[in-house]
C-alpha cells in the first residue's frame, strides 16, 4: 500500500546569525541528512548555497524565501520540474573584469554540468546596494534602483525566455568592517544576507518566478585562520555556481487564484497541506512561513543549539512544537514521526491514560 510522500520543510532564515546555516551554506549537511529521512525536502537557498560548493539532492526542492512564505500561507503551490532555463541579470555596477568572472562561471556550469542557460541581461543602471544592521542584530539592506533591477528581470523573462532568474549584484567590498571579520571567523551575522534576500524577494514577488542572488565581490585578502563554516565563499571568484545549480531544478510557483497554462494537475503539485514536519531554530519562530504552518497538522521541531540573534521561542507565540537540542535529535523525531510512533513511547516513562471528565 502506498503512502503519500513524507515532506519536510527545513528553515534556517538568512541574515540572523544562525550558528548552523548562518555562514557559507553550512546547513547543507543538515539538509543532506534530512533528505535521507524525508521523501521530499523543501528548503531555501540560504541552506543549500555554498558558493562554489553544492550538493545535488534529487528529492530536495530549492525554494526562495518569499515564495516559501507564499507556499506556507497556502497562496502558492510548487510544481516540480525536470529542468529550468536559467537567465542571468547582472548589475551594471559590476566592473568589466568581475563581470567576465561571472560569465565564465555561467559557461562552466553549461559545459561541465550541462545546465540550460539563456542569454543574459545587464541592468540599465548600477543598482547601488546599501547594507544595514537592525536593532535585533539581523542584517538587511536596500538597492537604490529597484526599478532597474525589475526592468532587467522582465527583459530576461520576456526576451530570453528565462524560467528562473539568477541575479548578480555588485556588493560593497567592506573588507575592514568588524562584521566581515567576525563572519570570516564563523561568528556574528552575515553582513550581505539580508540585502540578498530583499533582492530575490523583490523579483519573486513581482514576477512569481524562481529567483536567487549571488553577490559580486572582489576576492578578499588571504585569511589563514578562516572558519570552516565561512570557507566555501573564499574558493573562487564568484558565488554563482550553487545558485545556477539550485535554480536549474527549482520548482515553479503556481498561484492558486490564477488559472495558468501548462500547469500540472493539482495532484502533481506540492501544497502547504503536504508538509508533515517543519524544522526551525528554536529562537527564530517569528517568521511568516512558520506562523502559517503552526496552525496545520505539521509537526514543528525547534532546534535549541542552532542559536540566532532572534529571541522568539515557539512558546512565546503559542506555537506547539517539539523541542530538541540538536539536528541529530531532530532527525530522530522525523524518523518517529514518519513511522507514526509516539515520541512519548521512546522515553523511559509513559503516563497512564486519564478519564476525560
Amino acid at each position: 500500500m502506498s503512502q503519500r510522500p513524507y515532506t519536510v520543510l527545513l528553515l534556517v532564515p538568512t541574515g540572523i546569525g544562525a550558528a548552523i546555516g548562518g555562514y557559507a551554506g553550512d546547513a547543507l549537511p543538515v539538509a543532506r541528512a534530512v533528505a535521507q529521512v524525508a521523501d521530499c525536502l523543501i528548503t531555501h537557498p540560504n541552506v543549500l548555497n555554498g558558493a562554489q560548493l553544492y550538493w545535488p539532492l534529487s528529492n530536495a526542492l530549492y525554494v526562495e524565501g518569499y515564495g516559501l512564505d507564499q507556499f506556507a500561507a497556502g497562496c502558492w503551490d510548487l510544481q516540480p520540474v525536470r529542468q529550468n532555463q536559467v537567465g542571468m541579470v547582472l548589475d551594471q555596477g559590476i566592473e568589466p573584469e568581475l563581470r567576465v568572472r561571472q560569465l565564465q562561471a555561467a559557461d562552466a556550469v553549461r559545459a561541465t554540468l550541462g545546465l540550460h542557460l539563456t542569454d543574459y541581461v545587464v541592468t540599465d543602471a548600477p543598482l547601488g546596494v546599501e547594507l544595514r544592521t537592525a536593532r535585533s542584530g539581523a542584517t538587511w539592506g536596500t538597492i537604490q534602483r529597484p526599478d532597474s533591477l525589475l526592468r532587467a528581470v522582465e527583459k530576461v523573462i520576456t526576451q530570453c525566455k528565462a524560467e528562473a532568474v539568477a541575479v548578480v549584484v555588485r556588493f560593497p567590498d567592506d573588507t575592514d568592517s568588524d562584521l566581515l571579520q567576525h563572519y570570516r571567523q564563523g561568528q556574528g551575522v552575515d553582513p550581505l544576507a539580508g540585502a540578498e534576500a530583499v533582492i530575490s524577494h523583490l523579483v519573486v514577488r513581482t514576477f512569481h518566478i524562481p529567483c536567487a542572488h549571488a553577490p559580486a565581490l572582489l576576492p578578499l585578502p588571504l585569511e589563514p585562520h578562516l572558519s570552516p563554516r565561512s570557507a566555501a565563499e573564499e574558493l573562487g571568484y564568484t558565488f554563482l555556481p550553487c545558485v545556477l545549480v539550485g535554480l536549474s531544478r527549482t520548482p515553479q510557483f503556481v498561484v492558486r487564484s490564477e488559472p495558468q497554462s501548462g500547469v500540472a494537475p493539482r495532484s502533481h503539485l506540492i501544497t502547504a497541506e503536504d508538509v508533515d514536519a517543519v524544522i526551525v531554530p528554536e529562537t527564530a519562530c517569528g517568521g511568516s512561513a512558520l506562523l502559517s504552518l503552526s496552525q496545520s497538522q505539521s509537526t514543528i521541531i525547534a532546534v535549541g543549539d542552532n542559536r540566532t540573534r532572534m529571541q522568539v521561542s515557539p512558546e512565546m507565540l503559542g506555537i506547539r512544537a517539539v523541542r530538541v537540542n540538536s539536528y541529530l535529535e531532530a532527525l530522530g523525531v522525523l524518523v518517529a514521526d514518519r513511522a507514526g510512533i509516539s515520541l512519548d513511547a521512546l522515553t523511559a516513562s509513559i503516563s497512564t491514560l486519564r478519564q476525560q471528565l
Binding site: 532564515p13 540572523i16 524565501g65 518569499y66 500561507a73 544595514r132 537592525a134 536593532r135 535585533s136 539581523a138 538587511w140 536596500t142 538597492i143 529597484p146 526599478d147 532597474s148 525589475l150 526592468r151 522582465e154 523573462i157 520576456t158 534576500a197 530583499v198 524577494h201 523583490l202 514577488r205 513581482t206 514576477f207 512569481h208 518566478i209 498561484v255 490564477e258 495558468q260 527564530a284 519562530c285 517569528g286 517568521g287 511568516s288 512558520l290 506562523l291 502559517s292 503552526s294 496552525q295 540573534r309 532572534m310 529571541q311 522568539v312 512565546m316 507565540l317 503559542g318 506555537i319
Partner: protein
C-alpha cells in the same frame, strides 16, 4: 506569469513596529500584515522579540513604497 509593470516609482524601506499579541499564531501573521500594509507593501518581515509582560511582538520589516 510575467507582469508588465511600471517599476519606475518604487523604493524599499526598513521599519519596526509593535503588534499586540493576538490569541493564535495565524492571527498574529494577519495582524502583522495588516499593520505593515499601513506603511507599504510587506516584502520581508519577522517577529524578532516578544515582550511577554506587555504582550507585544516586535517586528522588523522591509516594505515597498510606491511614491
Amino acid at each position: 506569469m510575467v507582469q508588465v509593470c511600471n517599476h519606475s516609482r518604487m523604493a524599499t524601506q526598513f521599519i519596526t513596529v509593535e503588534i499586540a499579541l493576538p490569541d493564535s499564531p495565524a492571527a498574529l501573521r494577519q495582524a502583522v500584515l495588516a499593520e505593515l500594509q499601513t506603511h507599504g507593501e510587506p516584502l520581508r518581515w519577522a517577529v524578532t522579540a516578544v515582550d511577554s509582560a506587555g504582550q507585544l511582538a516586535q517586528v522588523e520589516a522591509i516594505v515597498i513604497l510606491s511614491t
